[in-house]
């Protein structure tokens, strides 16, 4: 769990509801937002949102990427019929935005606010740092903010301070100064109460006396969900644009959500011959690092980890998923499975290995067929029993399994697996570090 991007649609809903508490012009604004997915029925949409037929509209993709104007993905000042046609033309189409290619499948529609680009586009952002949040304010917003970054005024709000105690650094806003200051202060309160970690409105503009946020980018801290049920409503966290989860990644994610332990899987290269099944959030990164540091990054098939004392059943499901993936295609050189991990503090090694052993036993034939060599390295509570069971498994399955404990450096098995020394015996346990 960590900082997660949210849709502009959801971000604006939260924002408008929050701002409406102190700024009357935002009342009812959160109702005038509509989300369109491939499943949306236009008739029902119009019925739920009658304003769609009464106003000029903006339509745009809502999939966590910016610079939509630059990529011709903004539909401005159109009636519903035209906006819907614009969306329909792009729905489920693949586009490339910057370096990322992905499918367009979520759009949002909101009322269009006419304004002049140069004079009336302003910029505000708030970002979390360790000791403070910084408010960034500029009277040159929109596409001009980057080239005018030196004109952006910054205000730091220390973590233990209230926004009301802090003097805001304001650029020249003329007659709108007080109004914008009130808006920014209210915005900060929504940001803090809603556990946002990043909020950028670029630009916001004006309609008569009202401030109108046009484009929004927002990230929230998803660990605060339990505090924010009221503020967030039913908030979902979409994957970043272009990022697709495989069926197996989804499956592991579901198990992960249903347990207090942690189970993660990211596919990197399904054809890869090096597969990691590593315990621990920290150790898993190091195993992946070591594969790459040894020059085998192209062969690395997956990133993943299991930790927090998962049950034998969860470990079994996790192991089965990886074994299934790695035995689908054969590699003439054979494949390598690294069952790695550090010395656990409280995870029961024998128990978690029980699940892995069950999966290995089930996939015996496929593993033999795919010439899979297995390397095990682990320590922690009951590790001796766990390692002994692994060794026994190697004997009964007829699979090459090499098993090491804390006496062997944590990542030594990676080089053993990838650079089998030419002379036998290839795999004498290497001592940790250089002590002779």
């Amino acid at each position: 769990m960590a900082q997660r991007g949210i849709r502009e649609y959801e971000g604006k809903k939260i924002l408008f509801d929050g701002l409406a508490k102190t700024i009357p012009s935002f009342k009812g604004k959160s109702e005038k937002l509509a989300l369109v997915t491939p499943a949306t029925d236009p008739k029902k949409l119009v019925k739920d949102h009658p304003w769609l037929l009464k106003e000029k509209l903006v339509a745009k993709p809502d999939q966590l990427f910016g610079k939509r104007g630059k990529h011709g993905l903004l539909c401005l000042n159109k009636d519903f019929k035209a906006a819907w046609a614009w969306i329909a033309e792009r729905m489920n189409k693949t586009v490339t935005v910057g370096k990322t290619t992905g499918e367009l499948n979520v759009f949002m529609i909101e009322p269009f606010t006419p304004h002049s680009e140069d004079a009336e586009e302003c910029y505000v952002a708030i970002r979390a740092y360790r000791d403070y949040d910084t408010v960034y304010l500029s009277n040159k917003g929109g596409i001009y903010v980057e080239e005018n970054w030196d004109k952006v005024k910054e205000t730091r709000i220390p973590v233990l301070s209230s926004i009301d105690e802090v003097k805001l650094n304001m650029p020249e806003f003329g007659r709108r100064k007080d109004q914008i200051e009130e808006f920014v202060r209210a915005l900060y309160k929504v940001y803090a109460e809603g556990h946002f970690t990043y909020l950028e409105i670029n630009p916001f503009t004006f309609s008569g006396d009202e401030i109108v946020p046009l484009d929004l980018v927002a990230r929230v801290d998803d660990t605060a969900a339990f505090e924010c049920t009221k503020i967030w409503g039913d908030l979902e966290f979409p994957s970043s644009f272009g990022q697709k989860h495989t069926k197996e990644e989804e499956f592991i994610r579901k198990i992960d959500e249903g347990t207090g332990a942690s189970l993660k899987l990211t596919m990197l290269n399904p054809e890869g011959r090096v597969w990691n099944m590593v315990a621990g959030g920290g150790a898993s990164v190091i195993y992946a690092d070591t594969v790459c540091d040894l020059g085998f990054s192209k062969d690395l098939a997956n990133y993943g980890e299991y930790s927090g004392d998962p049950s034998a059943e969860d470990t079994y499901q996790y192991a089965k998923t990886i074994l299934d993936l790695m035995t689908r295609k054969k590699d003439p050189r054979g494949k390598v499975l690294i069952i790695g991990g550090g010395i656990a503090n409280f995870t029961d090694v024998a128990k978690t290995f029980k699940g892995i052993i069950k999966a290995l036993t089930e996939y015996k034939a496929k593993l033999v067929d795919g010439k899979v060599k297995i390397y095990v390295r682990r320590g922690g509570p009951n590790y001796k029993e766990g390692l002994a069971n692994m060794r026994k498994l190697g004997e009964t399955l007829g699979l090459p399994i090499e098993v090491y404990g804390p006496e062997t450096h944590m990542t030594a098995v990676v080089s053993m697996a990838l650079n089998p020394a030419p002379a036998a015996p290839a795999c004498k346990p290497a001592k940790a570090g250089g002590k002779k």
Partner: protein, 609 residues
């Protein structure tokens, strides 16, 4: 704040009833030779009292309080809080601890504390000049002094990694899991750890890598510093600044993990919440390069992390700045009973034997028959009694007989002593168990005992070969009535229908009815003396029961003697009559009957007597 967080006398308040972690802390204390347990008190919201825990070979009691304030007030010397509260309550409880004047260090174990809350904790600690370790951490350890919660795992690992006595190396990492791995690496490549802290994998840990590195810099006994950083955040860049500013002068061996991220698709979240590069500066490669340039010892990969630690250590030893700490043997920790048993190292005589049922099987079993099969066989309650009382799968007529006996004995009206007592108790407002017991306690030689008595007496006489006449004479000689003979009103000509039907059932189904026939012969004689001296229903049940046992062919003579002598027939009466007694209790309760008082005219006051 003073650089040392812990000494050999440091004591902690553990928030949350985590018995394993508490035991591991005290086991570490034993390894270090601490005189006083490192846990002063436990806060267990919702419960108070004491918690018994091993301290070496003996046991000690740790006081347990309902809230933190009470624990802190009673234990003013405890200056560390180990907080096991969940992510929901970790913030409030940590703030309470942090704001308490006694407390210097708060360790927050919970994963998933909101970032804003963690930032408030960190800022509050800075303001108060206190230390927060975590959230999302396993804790930390000061070798030979003090251990937080589950840090460093098992006792065996603590001793293997030489953590029971101080070495010369200060260590800090984000990852808790890896910290234990690194203690192992440090133990194998130096004279051991002085102190190790895992700050936690979140984006905003309460204390940072740099804060702990600067503490180690200020502690003279720490001769070199080892650290493990991670992709994401700019924390390691602050270390770079401190190196450049010469705020860190002791040798620093550091490696930033996550070098693989360059070949990962953007947006992959590693196992730790903070492990995600937001900019090029936050990548592992950039941070490793910057650290190296600033003078830190940076390996080329994790593979030679140990090598670099060893080289640095040996250099310091050669220079004379480290005098290697001597190895100290740790005391042997007595193995836990459960562990020893599991490993087959000990055996233990049991104190109970059970041969009738087993709830430890996949399915509950009565006499090795799974309960589902018991139901499927439709053996009824009689069959269940057969399994659990006599350890036999009785023939169907046996089951039927037992059920019939239960039905016949279920009730005999409100006037008999059992029902009467139960009614009086129920009307006194007692609960159903007390009321039932009050009724059942009247069962004995005078009430309800006839079934048992009849079976015993008739069986004795029959087995001894006494003729009916001899038996009657024998009983008369003892001055005793024959149990099971006699009824208030019924006679041979006005028979008790219950007895008639029971006799017919036995005659029809039992292979033999020797004792019943014997009893009927006795009845022939007694009824000649007086018409109502018939075989009554109690006698018939008891006697037919004996015939049922022998008829089934499943019991030896000894076994059936034993069954009768154990009082099984009394038990049968108790079970049956409980049904009726409950009926009377419910009847009284339903009718809301008031307290019963025996009317005066029922009592003859003859105090002069």
């Amino acid at each position: 704040m003073k650089p040392e967080l812990f000494t050999k006398d440091t004591t902690a308040i553990v928030y949350g009833y985590h018995v394993n972690a508490i035991q591991r802390m005290l086991d570490f204390d034993y390894a270090c030779g601490r005189k006083v347990p490192s846990v002063a008190a436990i806060v267990n919201p919702g419960s108070e009292g004491v918690h018994k825990v091993f301290f070496g070979k003996g046991e000690v009691l740790l006081p347990m309080y309902k809230n933190f304030a009470a624990a802190a007030a009673k234990h003013p010397k405890a200056d560390v809080v180990v907080n096991f509260a969940s992510y929901r309550s970790a913030f409030d409880s940590s703030m309470e601890a942090l704001n308490h004047p006694n407390i210097r260090t708060v360790c927050v174990i919970a994963e998933g504390v909101p970032e804003r809350r963690a930032r408030i904790l960190a800022a509050t600690a800075a303001k108060l000049d206190k230390m927060v370790i975590g959230p999302a951490t396993v804790g930390g350890i000061k070798a030979g002094c003090f251990k937080i919660a589950n840090t460093a795992g098992t006792y065996e690992n603590i001793v293997e990694s030489k953590l029971h006595r101080p070495g010369s190396v200060g260590f800090v990492s984000k990852s808790g899991g890896l910290s234990n791995e690194c203690y192992n690496i440090i133990a194998r490549n130096t004279d051991g750890l002085y102190e190790g802290i895992a700050i936690g994998g979140d984006a905003y840990p309460g204390s940072t890598l740099l804060e702990h590195i600067l503490r180690y810099e200020a502690i003279p006994a720490v001769k070199m510093i080892v650290a493990l950083g991670e992709i994401g955040g700019t924390e390691e860049l602050r270390i770079v600044e401190a190196l450049k500013a010469k705020k860190i002068t002791k040798p620093l061996v550091i490696w930033v993990t996550g070098t693989c991220s360059k070949m990962f698709p953007a947006g992959v979240q590693f196992g730790h919440a903070g492990a995600k590069a937001g900019s090029d500066l936050e990548t592992a490669d950039a941070k490793n390069a910057a650290l190296k340039a600033a003078g830190a010892v940076v390996p080329t990969s994790f593979d030679d992390y140990g090598v670099k630690i060893n080289e640095t250590y040996e250099r310091l030893v050669k220079k004379g700045s480290i005098k290697p700490a001597a190895d100290v043997a740790a005391p042997v920790l007595p193995m836990d009973f459960a562990q020893a048993l599991k490993e087959g190292k000990i055996r233990k005589a049991t104190t109970f034997i059970n041969t009738i049922s087993n709830e430890k099987k996949e399915e509950l079993e009565y006499l090795n028959i799974p309960i589902s099969k018991v139901l499927e066989s439709q053996m009824g309650i009689g069959g269940v009694i057969g399994l659990l009382w006599f350890k036999r799968r009785l023939p169907d007529y046996g089951n039927k007989f037992l059920e019939t006996a239960l039905m016949l004995t279920a009730d005999h009206g409100p006037a008999v002593s059992g029902a009467h007592n139960a009614i009086v108790a129920a009307r006194a407002g007692k609960d159903i168990i007390s009321s039932l017991a009050s009724g059942l306690l009247t069962i004995g030689p005078r009430f309800g005992g006839a079934i048992d008595g009849a079976a015993q007496q008739f069986k004795r006489a029959f087995d001894a070969g006494l003729t009916p006449e001899q038996f009657i004479r024998d009983m008369k000689g003892k001055g005793a009535n024959i149990p099971g003979i006699g009824h208030k009103v019924k006679s041979l000509t006005n028979p008790d229908m219950r007895v008639t039907q029971l006799k017919a059932f036995c005659k029809k189904n039992f292979k033999k009815t020797d004792l019943l026939d014997y009893a009927l012969a006795v009845e022939q004689l007694t009824t000649k003396k007086k018409g109502n001296l018939i075989l009554n229903v109690d006698g018939c049940i008891g006697i037919a029961f004996v015939d049922m046992l022998s008829s089934s062919g499943q019991f030896t003579k000894d076994e059936s003697d034993n069954i009768v002598n154990m009082g099984c027939l009394n038990a049968l009466f108790v079970v049956g009559r409980s049904i009726g007694i409950f009926g009377h209790i419910f009847d009284q309760k339903r009718l809301k009957q008031p307290l019963y008082r025996t009317p005066y005219d029922e009592i003859a006051y003859m105090t002069d007597l």
